[in-house]
């Protein structure tokens, strides 16, 4: 089994707010991240897939196909967007790094054919990232 990781970068804004919390609770739990005008990050995304090497071509998966899939499913939807307002998943979920990793996994898993998705890692900053390995 060989594990292959493809990176991509995108910039997006978001804010953290739970409509079931009081304003005071939102401010206490989320602090500066509760600013409704939003704030931005340069995210780094790492998508790791796994599989056996195809003996004919020497690939686990065609990297160009994986790159195109990531562009179509993730970057086109999220790059230079306000996540809370423009990405459907985040109309009902708070766009934390954790939820972003899960949403990205769910988008890719539906469309990935040639290899198995192993891990999605999202860096919100160079010091902070979330890993998601799916439910299994």
């Amino acid at each position: 089994m060989v594990y292959l990781t493809r990176k991509a970068e995108f910039s997006a804004s978001h804010y953290y707010h739970n409509p079931e919390f009081t304003p005071e609770e939102n401010r206490r739990v989320f602090g500066k991240c509760n600013n409704p005008n939003g704030h931005g990050h340069n995210y780094t995304l790492e998508v790791t897939v796994k599989g056996e090497i195809d003996r004919r071509c020497g690939f686990v998966v065609d990297l160009k196909q994986l790159k195109d899939l990531m562009n179509r499913e993730i970057l086109d939807a999220m790059d230079h967007r306000f996540l809370n307002k423009e990405v459907p998943e985040f109309s009902t979920r708070i766009p934390t790094t954790e939820n972003l990793a899960i949403a990205i996994w769910q988008r890719l898993e539906r469309k990935l054919q040639a290899a198995q998705l192993h891990r999605v890692r999202v860096y919100e900053t160079p010091d902070l990232y979330a890993d998601y390995y799916g439910e299994a």
Binding site: V2, T5, R6, K50, I53, C57, K64, R119
Partner: protein
């Protein structure tokens, strides 16, 4: 494969004149800490082995001309496995966990042997 199939599968990578990469190799070994030295293994030993048996073999070479790749395509996947095999056979001072190769800033590959699935996290 036919010429068309090669072109379709490999795109620019099918250029017969070749192309180069600056690969970054990371070798992960594991073991108990040896009390007298405080080390899992002496990194100087690992460095020396890698320099002689991996870097010495592959650096500044045209991979397609090497015996290692007479029967397989020198994709980074296959290079990863080849490097793992060299280490597994020859480096005995610690347990080999996995090999990681960064082909570019955006593409990396890891191999932990046939049974090493649990260490890739």
């Amino acid at each position: 494969m036919s010429a068309e199939e090669n072109q379709r599968t490999y795109g620019k990578c099918n250029n017969p004149h070749g192309h180069g990469h600056n690969y970054t190799l990371a070798v992960t070994v594991s073991g108990q800490v040896d009390e007298p030295t405080g080390m899992v293994c002496n990194l100087a030993d690992l460095d020396a082995f890698v320099h002689e048996n991996i870097v010495g073999k592959f650096d500044h070479e045209n991979l397609n001309t090497l015996g290692q790749f007479a029967q397989s395509v020198p994709t980074t996947e296959n290079l990863c496995v080849a490097i793992y095999d060299i280490l597994q056979r020859g480096f005995t001072k610690a347990h080999l966990e996995k090999v990681r190769l960064d082909e570019t800033m955006m593409n990396s590959f890891e191999y932990a042997g046939e049974e090493g699935i649990s260490v890739i996290r």
